[in-house]
């Protein structure tokens, strides 16, 4: 997978574009990751619809934000590297970090080979200790209560590693979101946490404006003296630039920063709501592809070829996974304790 990302990031026909503030290699790398992430989610949805999995939830529509996020992460194990407390829409971030796609398929099919939970947990519930990816939890917002803990360890260690926590807009109504702000901003004990909220303006079926009186979620940071910004998460370029600034601030100042990213939700909440594509929301991938084409960095044909190649590869992986064993019932008693 990492190999492929590289491949996409060195296209044959790079025309230098002064209009775009990022270099072409990076732009094309981002596009490659976004595309792969989208194709992965579409494959997972297809698996669900074919009965190769009980439940789907994931991040199609958030790639423009999640890919730059992944690219900026300092990955590795332990407090000298970034700690990641993600929610269940983060596949694009994992792929951008270099994670192979097949693990997600295995988790979807709940095989014994599922590298994240051994067939125990839902799709999108990554966990990878090697890269400090904390287990994604189903309960909304609890990750915000834990993030200050890893950040404190990092602050203590020194260096530039930070903690990143992500979650949705609706979840900010839980007290844990406030706890994260409180614990990250203790005077003299400010913590290096990048607090991210991806605002798709939905909590399952409930529109944001029906339940939340907060105009911008980033405003909630102000009282705590926490820097904050609301950004366009559908634009990968501005996402990258804004995130870069936020990462740099947190890495060097060792203080929290809240980023609210406005994003789309392209396949509804989850398989429970049908997992069907909506055209009512902006599609960051299509927009980005159009931009790259306008700037001569990509052609429709090239994009189509890439998509076909990735789809083919995912199909092959899905076929592989289909025959892998399910976990043995006797394993339920494994790993209750370390």
């Amino acid at each position: 997978m990492a190999r492929e990302a590289k491949k996409f990031s060195r296209p044959a026909l790079v025309t230098h574009s002064d209009a775009l503030p990022l270099d072409s290699a990076l732009l094309l790398s981002m596009h490659g990751h976004m595309l792969r992430a989208r194709c992965l989610e579409e494959r997972l949805i297809a698996m669900y619809k074919q009965g190769h999995g009980y439940f789907w939830i994931g991040g199609p529509g958030e790639e423009a934000f999640n890919v730059p996020l992944g690219l900026l992460i300092k990955k590795g194990q332990g407090p000298a590297f970034d700690f990641l407390h993600f929610h269940y829409r983060q596949s694009a971030t994992l792929l951008a970090m270099g994670e192979p796609t097949i693990g997600a398929l295995r988790q979807m099919k709940n095989t014994a080979t599922d590298p994240y939970s051994g067939g125990r947990n839902f799709a999108g519930h990554f966990s990878k200790r090697e890269w400090n990816v904390a287990p994604v939890t189903s309960p909304i917002e609890v990750q915000y209560a834990m993030a200050p803990g890893t950040a404190l360890a990092q602050k203590r260690l020194g260096g530039d590693a930070i903690t990143i926590v992500t979650g949705g807009d609706a979840g900010t109504a839980e007290g844990d979101f406030a706890s994260c702000l409180v614990w990250s901003s203790r005077p003299g004990q400010e913590l290096p946490v990048l607090i991210v909220v991806t605002n798709n303006r939905w909590g399952i079926s409930t529109p944001y404006g029906q339940v939340q009186g907060v105009q911008k979620i980033s405003d909630r940071a102000v009282a705590f003296g926490i820097r904050a910004k609301t950004i366009d998460g559908n634009d990968p370029i501005s996402s990258y630039l804004e995130l870069k600034e936020a990462f740099e601030y947190v890495r060097t100042e060792r203080k929290p920063y809240l980023v609210e990213a406005n994003v789309s939700r392209l396949y509804g909440h989850s398989s429970a709501s049908g997992a069907n594509m909506t055209t009512a929301e902006a599609d960051c991938l299509a927009q980005f592809e159009a931009l790259l084409q306008r700037h001569g960095l990509l052609t429709a044909a090239k994009a189509k070829a890439m998509r076909e190649e990735i789809t083919e590869q995912l199909l092959a992986e899905a076929r592989l996974v289909r025959d892998e064993p399910q976990p043995d019932p006797s394993t339920i008693f494994d790993h209750i304790y370390a």
């Binding site: 009980y54 439940f55 709940n110 095989t111 014994a112 939970s117 051994g118 067939g119 125990r120 947990n121 839902f122 939890t137 189903s138 309960p139 909304i140 917002e141 609706a170 979840g171 109504a173 839980e174 007290g175 909590g203 399952i204 079926s205 409930t206 029906q210 339940v211 939340q212 429970a272 399910q326 976990p327 043995d328 019932p329 006797s330 394993t331 339920i332 008693f333 209750i336």
Partner: protein, 351 residues
């Protein structure tokens, strides 16, 4: 015949119209969704809450204090565990104020396994709920009982926890709810929200009537002589089926649907145990510090000398979660085969 989700919906409609229910709310409880299991579609007092379980329980308590009659939903009981302090508070408000205040509120929440819900859509809540004094706790296993228990819950002066066995919500009943049209298609057309745009849709409620299942009354769903099986919720129909199977082997099992977990019908349980001398308690909550252990303790302390075999509990394995893969879920909580095996073993014990 209505399924349990429809029965709950009709009960809530009845309660809105006749029992003063003012607020049916929770995450995605209002339009357009009407609840993740459709239990609240088309009702007139529903609304969508912020994603905040503590706020939901707090809101219900406040509404109840101010004379409203709320029915609050926690979307899955798996997400109720950050509110236990508030549930305890709701349960002690009458007592701590020496009888001044009472909180007529209902909390309903789907429980249990059976839909491949993985770690966080498979939890049981009976053990935790029964350890919280001051609540009444009910858990139907049929649509008609769900209807009758919901009416009872909405008439209560005290907090009631209404546990919805999620595996049974879509199972049709065998008895008609008073006023329910006999034709299922007709019922569905009248009260199930349509796919697609629902903004103009209104439920056409049948003229459902009063049918109250009193809190505290168990139901003997099958009479028998050789052993007693006490259960509730998802495992109850499995026990009944197991008893039917075992009848063919000459084993006569009495099956009791507890229906109310607190205050429970000890008279029914003890009478049955006195008759059969053997008892199996079945539920799917994890088996340590399990409500079935309370029932078993009471049976042991009070009926020791009438027991012809050690009383037995069959419950969920003591695991941190229920795994997603089919085989994991099956191995984690009682299935029909496990129940039959346990019943056979108990029946076979020589006194």
């Amino acid at each position: 015949m209505a399924n349990m989700a429809q029965a709950i919906r009709m009960a809530l409609h009845y309660a809105e119209e006749n029992l003063g229910v003012t607020d049916i709310f929770g995450e995605d409880v209002g339009p357009p969704l009407g609840g993740v299991f459709t239990c609240t579609q088309g009702l007139k007092t529903t609304w969508n809450s912020p994603l905040d379980e503590r706020g939901i329980i707090g809101m219900a308590m406040g509404l109840a204090m101010a004379g409203q009659r709320p029915v609050a939903e926690i979307q899955f009981c798996d997400y109720i565990y950050n509110t236990i302090d508030l549930l305890k508070l709701a349960g002690n408000t009458c007592w701590s104020s020496n009888g001044q205040w009472n909180l007529p509120l209902v909390v309903m929440t789907p429980v249990g396994s059976g839909i491949r819900g993985s770690l966080y859509h498979s939890h049981s809540f009976d053990a935790t709920a029964t350890h919280i004094p001051g609540w009444k706790i009910v858990m139907p296993s049929t649509p008609l009982d769900a209807y009758g228990l919901m009416l009872a819950a909405c008439e209560e002066k005290n907090p009631v926890m209404f546990l919805k066995p999620k595996a049974l919500l879509r199972i049709k009943g065998e008895e008609l709810i008073p006023g329910e049209p006999g034709d299922d298609k007709q019922l569905s057309k009248a009260i199930d929200a349509p796919l697609g745009d629902r903004s103009a849709w209104k439920a056409q409620w049948p003229a459902v009537g009063k049918h109250v299942v009193r809190i505290g009354e168990a139901k003997t769903v099958r009479a028998g002589e050789h052993l007693t099986v006490v259960s509730y919720g998802r495992t109850l129909p499995l026990c009944a089926k197991a008893a039917a199977t075992l009848a063919g082997e000459g084993i006569s099992a009495e099956v009791i649907d507890l229906r109310t977990l607190w205050p429970y019908d000890w008279a029914a349980i003890s009478a049955s145990i006195k008759k059969t001398g053997k008892v199996l308690f079945v539920n799917e909550d994890t088996e340590v510090t399990n409500f079935g252990e309370h029932l078993l303790r009471r049976a042991t302390e009070e009926l020791f000398y009438e027991l012809l075999a050690p009383p037995k509990l069959l419950a969920g394995k003591f695991l941190p979660g229920i795994g997603l893969a089919d085989a994991l879920e099956m191995a984690s909580v009682p299935q029909q085969g496990d129940i039959e095996t346990a019943m056979r073993a108990l029946a076979a014990q020589a006194p």
